[in-house]
């Protein structure tokens, strides 16, 4: 056993750090911290990574990917989070692309994959439906074959950044008489096809990051079907395993913990920095201790993955513990901000030329706290993860 990175890994980390140092400007970092990235910011980040050859980290080289191993991906994710770099928008790169590579036609691969790299296409995800929740396979959006088109009707929801996307990959029901998980197909759809309407969902922190997407008699050419008709559930599940990369969010938690510490050093409580208050310090230390252990759990699983073992129930464990830790850090941040967690200034009040209300770190804390309640709900709720764990560990009989 050796808990330390080897020389090669250390060298790679230094490369990553140098890149981040150069690319993540203080302005960009502040936007990330305050959750105020624009579409342009995200596109710029995408382009910068692409220019460096680091955009498609998990793609094989033949498709223009970096073909990093699990440890390299982990190092990048952790360093990027610690540097408050933007997240890479994953829908095309890490979710659709693996499906196309494995199940798509040569034509689909040749057409779509380069456009993902170049940023020409911004993909969004058409999985969830209202009323389906964690029961994804109960989806109702219908696609009926008419000649060389499918006619799609129905509604998707929780479509992240759908307002920026020009493409959507969708699960649709092509055989309404089949059992629930059969009769589903996987379609690629242009967002500017007539009959598609994107309606914003405003989240409880006032942000617009998810959408409803409505389909009314939307004509989709049959060549936009991925793989075989009615086999979409297989592709969907394959995609979901890729959704789970970086599920533990160790880097985000470390960055969050650092932010809380900065705040707690600045905030004064009874004439001493809040970080010296034993009650606050105790909660902070416990989550830091939990994170130290989870970081090692994460590395253990990553090193198994690097050795070719597929992570099983461990992903579910990391999801649950990772979200608990991140949400606890969000809670500590909100508390550290004190009364200045209350203001909810609009851009109008606190614009580019206006100073923030209270200390600059305080403003986003409550919004982040509320927004990140999603972590334990979306992407397979923590209840679903516990079901999976129990099924694997208790389901097998003796």
């Amino acid at each position: 056993m050796d808990l330390n990175y080897n020389e090669e890994e250390l060298a790679f980390r230094d490369e990553v750090r140098a890149f981040l140092d150069e690319t993540v400007t203080p302005e960009l970092r502040d936007k990330v911290r305050n959750g105020r990235l624009t579409k342009q910011d995200m596109e710029n980040w995408h382009a910068a990574l692409n220019a460096r050859g680091w955009l498609a980290q998990n793609w094989p080289k033949e498709f223009g990917g970096a073909a990093w191993n699990a440890v390299q991906r982990h190092i990048f994710e952790e360093e990027a989070a610690m540097a408050d770099a933007p997240r890479i928008v994953p829908f095309g790169l890490s979710m659709l692309a693996p499906v196309l590579m494995k199940f798509g036609s040569k034509e689909q691969q040749d057409y779509y994959l380069p456009r993902i790299l170049s940023g020409e296409d911004w993909w969004c995800q058409g999985y969830s439906e209202p009323g389906a929740g964690s029961d994804l396979a109960s989806l109702k959006t219908r696609a009926v074959r008419e000649g060389d088109h499918y006619i799609v009707n129905g509604q998707k929801t929780w479509t992240t950044l759908g307002q920026y996307a020009n493409k959507i990959f969708c699960l649709v029901r092509t055989d309404p008489n089949a059992k629930q998980q059969e009769g589903i197909s996987f379609l690629l759809i242009d967002m500017d096809t007539p009959g598609i309407e994107v309606r914003p969902i405003i989240l409880l922190d006032g942000t617009h990051e998810v959408n409803e997407v409505w389909f009314t008699d939307v004509k989709v050419p049959v060549e936009n079907l991925v793989g075989e008709e009615n086999k979409g559930w297989t592709y969907a599940k394959y995609l979901l395993t890729h959704e789970r990369a970086n599920i533990a969010g160790v880097g985000f938690s470390r960055a969050g913990l650092d932010a809380v510490k900065r705040m707690a050093r600045a905030e004064m409580h009874k004439g001493r920095p809040l970080i010296e208050n034993p009650h606050f310090a105790a909660r902070l230390a416990q989550v830091e201790i939990d994170l130290m252990a989870m970081a090692t759990t994460n590395l253990r699983i990553i090193s198994q993955a690097a050795a070719g073992q597929a992570p099983g129930v461990e992903s579910s464990m990391l999801k649950v513990k990772g979200t608990i830790i991140r949400q606890e850090i969000n809670d500590l941040a909100r508390r550290a901000a004190g009364p200045y967690a209350l203001p909810f200034p609009s851009e109008a009040v606190e614009g580019a030329n206006e100073p923030p209300i209270g200390p600059d770190y305080a403003g986003p804390t409550a919004a982040h706290y509320f927004n990140n309640r999603k972590l334990s709900i979306f992407g397979g709720s923590n209840e679903i993860q516990r079901n999976i764990i129990a099924k694997v560990k208790l389901g097998g009989g003796r």
Binding site: R335, L342, F344, I357, A367, R373
Partner: protein, 377 residues
């Protein structure tokens, strides 16, 4: 020993609950939340007409209540309905201080408050003071026959709507001394008084207040010079009872919304309330909700006791409600799933009210520490 509400309070509760259920539905509240004022003058007028404001003042102050259980009954109902109108700031903090300390002229304003015609705000906490009640760096300096105020006040809730601000400033002593703090009545629009207003994440509005050579007549002083601390402490104690009761009410609604959702929402072919893991967690929410109800009773029922005992009970209640509030807000959201993440669905509002209550007059940890100090004594 008796845990029954008096007939009068039960009537007040019923009337207020009916009024709010008629007049304060989700659509109305969402409209109010997005309004420029941050509250509804019509609703305010309605509350005044119902006597809700009067119930928060004693008879000799022109009201017909004013005791701990009057406060808890009113605020529990306001909390159940998710009301964002600044009752706590105008009536409990502002009105309470005016009624307790005012001379005859100042006390006349209480009548206006009870009638719904005057809003107030307490400008006491300062940037950097967090929740420390005695940390006052704003200064009050005599100049000629006048008093000149200088300083900055943080997150002054309802400042923009207030016709008068009650401003604390130091006449003597070091920045943390309880002694030397005075209170002044500053009319809106006074020279040198400036507000930078903003909405709050859980509704309502507040402002950063700057006092730059604000000149007041000596008659603007509220109560005795340098002896503002104990009255402030009492006002904040009453505000804590109000806030605890409001949070209790909001938790009741969050729990009830969750109950309804568990019964109606279908997943995997059955109502999610039939899943035992959720059932048991819901049972824990109900158990803790009863704990919170008892904590409010303890705080309200001891509001008229000696200051240290009173504040020990209050910090006990706020600590418990802080912990239970986090549980109930988070579990309610989690059991609802995605729908709870949307602005549109009303649970979001209640979760925010419950959570952000923890940022006024001391958070969960602050009250734990305060409880330790006071119970060791």
């Amino acid at each position: 020993m008796n845990f029954e509400l008096t007939e009068e309070r039960r009537m007040l509760q019923d009337t207020l609950r009916r009024f709010l259920s008629d007049r304060y539905d989700t659509a109305t509240r969402n409209r109010i939340l997005e309004s420029d004022e941050g509250f509804s003058p019509e609703i305010w007028e309605g509350l005044a007409e119902l006597g809700v404001i009067g119930a928060l003042f004693a008879e000799d102050q022109g009201g017909f209540g004013g005791a701990g259980f009057d406060i808890s009954v009113v605020f529990e109902e306001l909390g159940r309905a998710g009301v964002v109108e600044p009752m706590l700031d105008t009536a409990i903090l502002g009105g309470g201080l005016l009624a307790a300390l005012g001379d005859e002229a100042q006390r006349a304003l209480v009548e206006e408050v009870i009638g719904g015609g005057l809003h107030l705000a307490l400008a006491h906490y300062e940037p950097g003071s967090r929740y420390d009640l005695s940390r006052v760096r704003a200064t009050a300096t005599p100049e000629g026959g006048e008093i000149v105020l200088n300083g900055a006040k943080a997150v002054v809730v309802n400042a923009e709507a207030a016709g008068q601000l009650i401003v604390s400033a130091r006449e003597s002593g070091a920045a943390d001394d309880p002694g030397g703090i005075s209170l002044f009545l500053v009319p809106a629009g006074a020279n040198g008084l400036s507000l930078r207003g903003y909405p709050m994440i859980s509704g309502g509005r507040a402002a950063e207040v700057t006092l730059d050579e604000v000149r007041l007549p000596a008659s603007a002083r509220l109560g005795t010079a340098g002896e503002g601390f104990e009255p402030l402490r009492t006002a904040i104690a009453r505000a804590n009872v109000a806030l605890a009761a409001e949070t209790l009410g909001a938790m009741e609604t969050a729990t009830e919304l969750t109950r309804e959702y568990l019964l109606t929402r279908q997943q995997f072919g059955r109502p999610i309330g039939t899943f035992q893991a959720l059932q048991h967690r819901f049972a824990d929410m109900l158990i803790e909700l009863e704990q919170a109800r008892s904590a409010v009773i303890n705080a309200a029922g001891n509001l008229e006791k000696s200051p240290d005992f009173r504040d020990m009970q209050i910090s006990s209640a706020r600590n418990l409600i802080g912990r239970v509030g986090r549980l109930i807000a988070e579990e309610s959201i989690q059991m609802h799933g995605g729908i709870a993440m949307t602005q549109e669905y009303e649970l979001a509002h209640f979760a925010k009210r419950i959570t952000m209550a923890d940022h006024r007059f001391g958070d969960t940890d602050w009250h734990l520490e305060r409880f330790l100090e006071l119970s060791a004594a």
